[in-house]
């Protein structure tokens, strides 16, 4: 059973369309929710976390309707974009209090809060008021309150915002580790290169619609409108370029003898890779490196969101 299932879900805010007939299914592991501002990411997160009711369609989380449903909320952890802390409260009291809202008794809440704050490296400042925390500490506290009850589905809205590079790296590693343990994690972000470090599974949104979902490479392969760029490092760029001219699937080709590089565009990448392997074997052409500059998240995002 999918952790999250959306069937033809739409959501209007008055006359403004927030989400338009979205069909989506999310399983375990980390899935990134991508899109520019106003794409509908927050609306989707609020629908999944049961804080919004869809205008039409069905939202199911662990097979149940999540809207204002405490039994679903018990299995969710939400890291919202907003901070949401009362200023005078200490980190431990905050996590402890939110665990009490989950129905844990005072002893269990206290123990879980301590354990979780240790996990996110806030144990040394657990008794300090939240108002004295740095931005990174606050971000980790938001994470702590979301994972303290060990949710099956963790939803993070812009979790990297405000973190320094080390903090970002730690957060990315932590999210990956959480997903690798079999939990479902939905991360909304617009920092593409960092999302790419977390997961290859994406849901790309724009103007309230899901443009693509699945593995980044699979999605890229499906984008026919843009030929795939391939960059080859070779000591004999002129010879390689001449050999490749015969291949009908190549749209353009350029080479630089100074940089020992050949760059080409092809609409049939699979066939090209096969041909290249044959060329290398039969014509004894050396290829040191092969990269595909647009077979990544940024390119997919660019091609689909800004066509």
């Amino acid at each position: 059973m999918s952790a999250v299932e959306l069937q033809s879900v739409s959501r209007w805010y008055g006359t403004v369309l927030g989400l338009s007939r979205v069909d989506l299914s999310l399983g375990s592991g980390v899935t990134a929710l991508l899109g520019p501002n106003g794409a509908g990411k927050s609306t989707l997160i609020r629908l999944v976390s049961g804080q919004l009711r869809p205008s039409s369609g069905n939202v199911r989380v662990f097979g149940e309707n999540p809207f204002a449903n405490p039994s679903v909320a018990a299995h969710l952890g939400l890291v919202p974009e907003e901070e949401g802390f009362p200023p005078r409260v200490s980190g431990k009291d905050w996590v402890c209090f939110l665990l009490r809202l989950h129905g844990y008794g005072s002893t269990e809440s206290s123990q879980r809060a301590e354990h979780t704050l240790e996990e996110v490296r806030l144990d040394t400042v657990a008794h300090r008021p939240v108002s004295t925390y740095s931005r990174g500490m606050r971000q980790r506290l938001k994470l702590a309150q979301a994972i303290a009850h060990h949710p099956d589905l963790l939803i993070l809205d812009e979790p990297l915002a405000g973190l320094d590079p080390v903090g970002r790296r730690e957060m990315i590693d932590w999210i990956k580790a959480w997903g690798n343990k079999g939990h479902s994690v939905l991360v909304s972000s617009h920092i593409l290169h960092e999302v790419e470090l977390m997961t290859r599974e994406i849901v790309l949104m724009n103007q309230g619609r899901v443009l693509a979902s699945g593995n980044v490479h699979d999605i890229r392969r499906l984008i026919d409108a843009h030929p795939h760029r391939v960059r080859l490092s070779t000591p004999t760029p002129k010879i390689l370029a001449a050999q490749l001219l015969d291949f009908p699937g190549i749209r353009s080709i350029s080479f630089s003898e100074e940089r020992e590089q050949v760059e080409l565009e092809t609409k049939e990448p699979e066939r090209f890779y096969e041909l290249l392997a044959n060329l290398a074997l039969e014509e004894h052409i050396t290829v040191h490196e092969m990269t595909s500059p647009d077979d990544n998240l940024e390119a997919v995002f660019k091609y689909l969101v800004e066509p």
Binding site: Q51, S71, A73, G77, E82, G84, I147
Partner: protein, 281 residues
């Protein structure tokens, strides 16, 4: 971040029910209030009229010849509780404890976190109401009952209760009514703003503005204006009904109806705001 053992740990103990969750929210709010010295000072100051009334009871008991001037009957409790409102003490307590209650959650985004927990909007509303109710009851019901016990302690017999058997129930019912009324009014205004200060100003404007309007209407109509024009006036006006005393003017029932309608409207406003907050954030 070092990776600690975060493997799945299902809670094997017993989870408490919905009431305990509401209580957890209410307790958290109450403890936050009790940590503030200004609030504690306000609560103490709100008991001063009760000490004065206690002195009145003491004098009346020790100097029976003064009874015609210091008569102790159920009207003393009606006057005391009405004064707690008209002297603005209840207003100030409600203002301090309630003006930022929902506004702060809307501003900080805590509401989104609360509603992502197994807590319904109604649970949230009740959890927010309880500390406010407790604060208002602490300056109405508690001193009211304390005065009653003080009086009974000084009396050789319980003639007051024989003559007015419903007095404890009247104190309880009127205090609860006042608490519910001011609680919902201040929370409704709190929910309309994201700023605690703005909500406080709004509540003061509503309470004092409506009272000023009532005063003007009284002057223009030569004392015939209905008390329900004023938030404060209405709550003083209904006291006679709760204490079973002859109403001083004919608007008490009207005030009761208006207060009921305002409370219903208050719940409607809060509910609407709690729903719309999801869109706004």
């Amino acid at each position: 971040m070092p990776l600690h053992d975060v493997s799945y740990r299902r809670f094997e103990g017993t989870r408490v029910g919905g009431l305990a969750r509401i209580w957890a929210l209410a307790r958290f709010q109450m403890l936050s209030l009790l940590k503030q010295r200004r609030f504690l000072f306000l609560m103490f100051a709100s008991w001063i009229p009760a000490f004065v009334r206690g002195g009145q009871i003491y004098v009346a008991k020790q100097f029976p010849q003064a009874v015609p001037f210091l008569e102790v009957d159920q009207s003393l409790w009606r006057d005391f509780l009405s004064q707690q409102v008209s002297f603005l003490l209840v207003i100030l307590v409600a203002l301090y404890a309630g003006s930022g209650s929902i506004a702060s959650d809307l501003r900080s985004g805590a509401l989104v976190i609360y509603l992502s927990k197994p807590l319904s909007r109604m649970d949230y509303l009740i959890g927010k109401c309880l500390p406010l109710l407790a604060a208002i009851l602490a300056v109405t019901l508690l001193p009211g009952l304390a005065l009653l016990l003080f009086h009974l302690g000084l009396s050789e017999n319980w003639s007051l209760l024989t003559e007015s058997p419903w007095l404890p129930a009247s104190i309880l019912a009127y205090s609860l009514w006042l608490a519910a009324y001011f609680c919902l009014m201040v929370l409704a205004i709190s929910s309309l703003s994201r700023s605690r200060r703005l909500a406080a100003v709004g509540f003061v404007l509503l309470a004092l503005g409506s009272h000023a309007l009532y005063g003007m209407a009284m002057r223009m109509s030569f004392g015939q204006a209905p008390a329900y024009l004023s938030l404060i006036g209405a709550s003083v006006d209904v006291a006679d009904l709760f204490f079973g005393l002859a109403t001083e003017n004919g608007s008490s029932w009207g005030s009761l109806v208006v207060m009921t309608l305002l409370m219903v409207a208050g719940v409607g406003i809060i509910d609407r705001r709690l729903r719309s907050s999801e869109v706004a954030t």
